[in-house]
Point group: C2
Chain length 336, copies 2
Amino acid sequence: MNGNIQAIKLFHEIINCVRSQFNERGYTEVIVPRLVKASGACENINTLFEIHVDGEKKWFSGHRGYLTQTGQLYLEAFVPNFEKVYCIGPSFRAEPGVDSRHLTEFTMAEIEFAGGFDNLLEEISETIWGLAQHFSNDTQAAARVGLNKENIKRLKKVPRRFYEITYDEAIHTLIRQGDEIEWGDDISSRQEKKLVELVGNQPLFITRFPDPMWNFKREIEVEKFFNMIPDKDNPGRVLSCDLILPFGGEAVGAAARIHEEKTLVKRLKNSRMFKRLLDKGGALSDFGWYIEALRENGSVPHAGCGFGLARIAQFIAGEEDIRKCVPFVLNQQNII
Amino acid sequence: MNGNIQAIKLFHEIINCVRSQFNERGYTEVIVPRLVKASGACENINTLFEIHVDGEKKWFSGHRGYLTQTGQLYLEAFVPNFEKVYCIGPSFRAEPGVDSRHLTEFTMAEIEFAGGFDNLLEEISETIWGLAQHFSNDTQAAARVGLNKENIKRLKKVPRRFYEITYDEAIHTLIRQGDEIEWGDDISSRQEKKLVELVGNQPLFITRFPDPMWNFKREIEVEKFFNMIPDKDNPGRVLSCDLILPFGGEAVGAAARIHEEKTLVKRLKNSRMFKRLLDKGGALSDFGWYIEALRENGSVPHAGCGFGLARIAQFIAGEEDIRKCVPFVLNQQNII
């Protein structure tokens, strides 16, 4: 049967725990749109689903519609008003890979708040640690979702503040371990797993990735969303972070965000994502509403991240295959 | 600026109140898919948004993808396992009307539970009354969303169990009032408003609509979802109900559901919706997973409904225009 009973229970528990934490910490829930302009894309703009009506692809008064990959900008616009905002909902990716790590639709919890990069790492640690505590302290909750003793013991040991290495350190470590990788390359999921093992199979932050808009005089593989803040102390790096979890792998993508209009537009125009958007028939006007909001409403220094709840569910359940941890398995081979 | 600060606050409050009520009453939250086969359509199958990838409309292993209009069947499938289930998320309609009543994307809270038609009316009354109580008793909550004294006074008077008339009574009443309407016609939003005024501007259930699959020997205008249960005591009527709210108008659609596989398939095949689905290039296989779930997992007598939260927000705020009550106004003229 389509639909995993155990995973429904697990998701009910995880979402309620995450939401309670956000509400208790003073976050406001914002219902963000899910059918959007290209401003709902993450850096992987080539995996956008397009919306048509009776074959018409510019149904919205001449505009194209896409399914949202992230609610990030729709949250960022309201940080000046609410300081702390969040949303929980579907993220869509036209991802052709049918495997143990990818889905075409999955649930993301996203936060944006007035604060800096250190606060951001703290918010992420607290949230995931809070989940680990929930299941290791509340034996009824653990029983409801069918966690075994080994899992509960493992979750009890999760530290409150997670280990942290920079992207540069990660690359050097992998090279020392004999891996074929060069500075500027993406770190594969197999390599992420290796790094997590080196810190005793605990959650690991990889921080300060290469800045794709920096002139390295050569192509680099790493791609990051255009509005990440360059790190003043480390030229050519951005204040970004991926959280790697045992079992789930890369489960959170995070960064401090540019809040100054001119820098933002300049970086957007210089991004590879923007070139792809033009190829797809999009334009700067896809981001017009956000640029206008910055101009009209102003902004404040802020940061945020997206929690991939299915990968977090893998971490809680101790399960290597994402398909065993979601209420419905949704990929190119399975639509219901 | 795109995005209504006051409406964000109101939605945060409404969603949290509704969700708490469901959780307290023992409902399990199910994360339903939003990119679906035609089984995610309500009776208005002609307003489905289609999903394409690089111009390919059958990207899902030869299947078409649509945006969900309702999570109903995805919830119904799990009533045998959980007894009470709910979801809160976006409903999408390719609705070309740009006016004070329609949106292309709005938030629905949906419930399905093991129980009958009377229980259903009770669940709906309790939920909306609970919301009215929340804002009229908690002065801080009312202040947070900017409700004035008049609104608070109005909400205090909302009865715990709502007035109820049948569709037949509604038609006779309207004819007596001099309205041009015939039995079998849809009741317009102007007429709904008139009926609500007749019960002192309080929420009003209109129940037992004509059964579109009954042979009346003539065409009727009323369309209802194929799996509504025929009313044994009233031949040619179904156990369905619309809740009409002051300001918001039709805000909840509800029915007792058929849980027997053969009757369900027969009614589906006889529905106008199914004929339109075939015209659109769909097939019975769009509903295959659900029919299979009924066969494998069985079902139990159950009922459910969808709460249109924007129209409920209108009711709370005392606002005639839906566009003033939603975090983002999303219609054919406005995509962001």
